[in-house]
Amino acid sequence: MQMTVDRSLPQDTPVPADLDDETLIARSRAGDAGAVRLLVERHSATIYRIAYRMAGRRAQAEDIAQDVLVKMLDYREGWLSKPGFQVWLRRAVYNRMVDIHRKQRPWAFIGIDTVAEKEDGAPAQDAVLAAREDENQVAAAVLNLPLRQRMAVTLCFYEQMSLAEAAVVLKVSVGAVESLLHRAKAALKRTLLDNEE
């Protein structure tokens, strides 16, 4: 009896691009490499964007996005509540960020990637430098917000999600999201606009 096990990685199979996430997850669990690739390609940019807004550093955002995407096949639709896969992914980024925040030493300054680090080479002109300075200030101000407020701003302002959608991700009421955004905006105004005057 032949006892050897084929250990080669599964090959790509053609997967229709319009398949919904749940079908792709089921096919991915069954070992369909094409479905895995399509799922990752479909969601990686969004997950990376949210992770970057939450973490402020590209390397950390990359780690968070990778952790979340690697675990995406663990997604199971809830029995009572059905938040959906996209909500689950966004919530996973937030939960990962909370974990990191808990483990982080309170006195450790993590800092942000300054925008000037993004491009290398070409000398920057004054206008570009001024814009970068603005960008760095905004990034620092947003990253200074408490996690929940930061996530609310990320979802509602940067990801253009509705209050109701953000509420599902954060597992709070719509009113609570409104309150988070209100407090976040007040803090950002204090930091950013008062500096201008």
Partner: protein, 90 residues
């Protein structure tokens, strides 16, 4: 909302839009997909046999075991043992 508040709101929105997201690192999706596939591959069972095959193999092993037990002469302590437990008791 006063005119000043509206102006502040607009200014804040404009400022916040200044913070751009860096593009996804090149090859990121490919790396993540490869990691997922590799992990999934590791989780596969060592014996990729179907339940039917496992049952058949166990049955064959049991039959072979019984046949060996019947045909092999007893050795050691088993050879000296009485023929039956009842004989021993009497």
């Amino acid at each position: 909302m006063t005119t000043n508040d509206s102006r502040n709101e607009a200014r804040l929105n404009a400022l916040m839009n200044n913070w751009q997201t860096p593009r996804l690192p090149p090859g990121f999706s490919g790396r993540v997909s490869a990691r997922i596939l590799e992990q999934q591959h590791k989780r596969e069972p060592i014996f990729p046999w179907s339940p039917a095959k496992l049952v058949a193999a166990t049955a064959i092993a049991a039959v072979v075991g019984i046949l060996l037990g019947v045909t092999m002469p007893p050795t050691g302590a088993a050879a000296d043992a009485p023929d039956s437990i009842i004989e021993e008791l009497w």
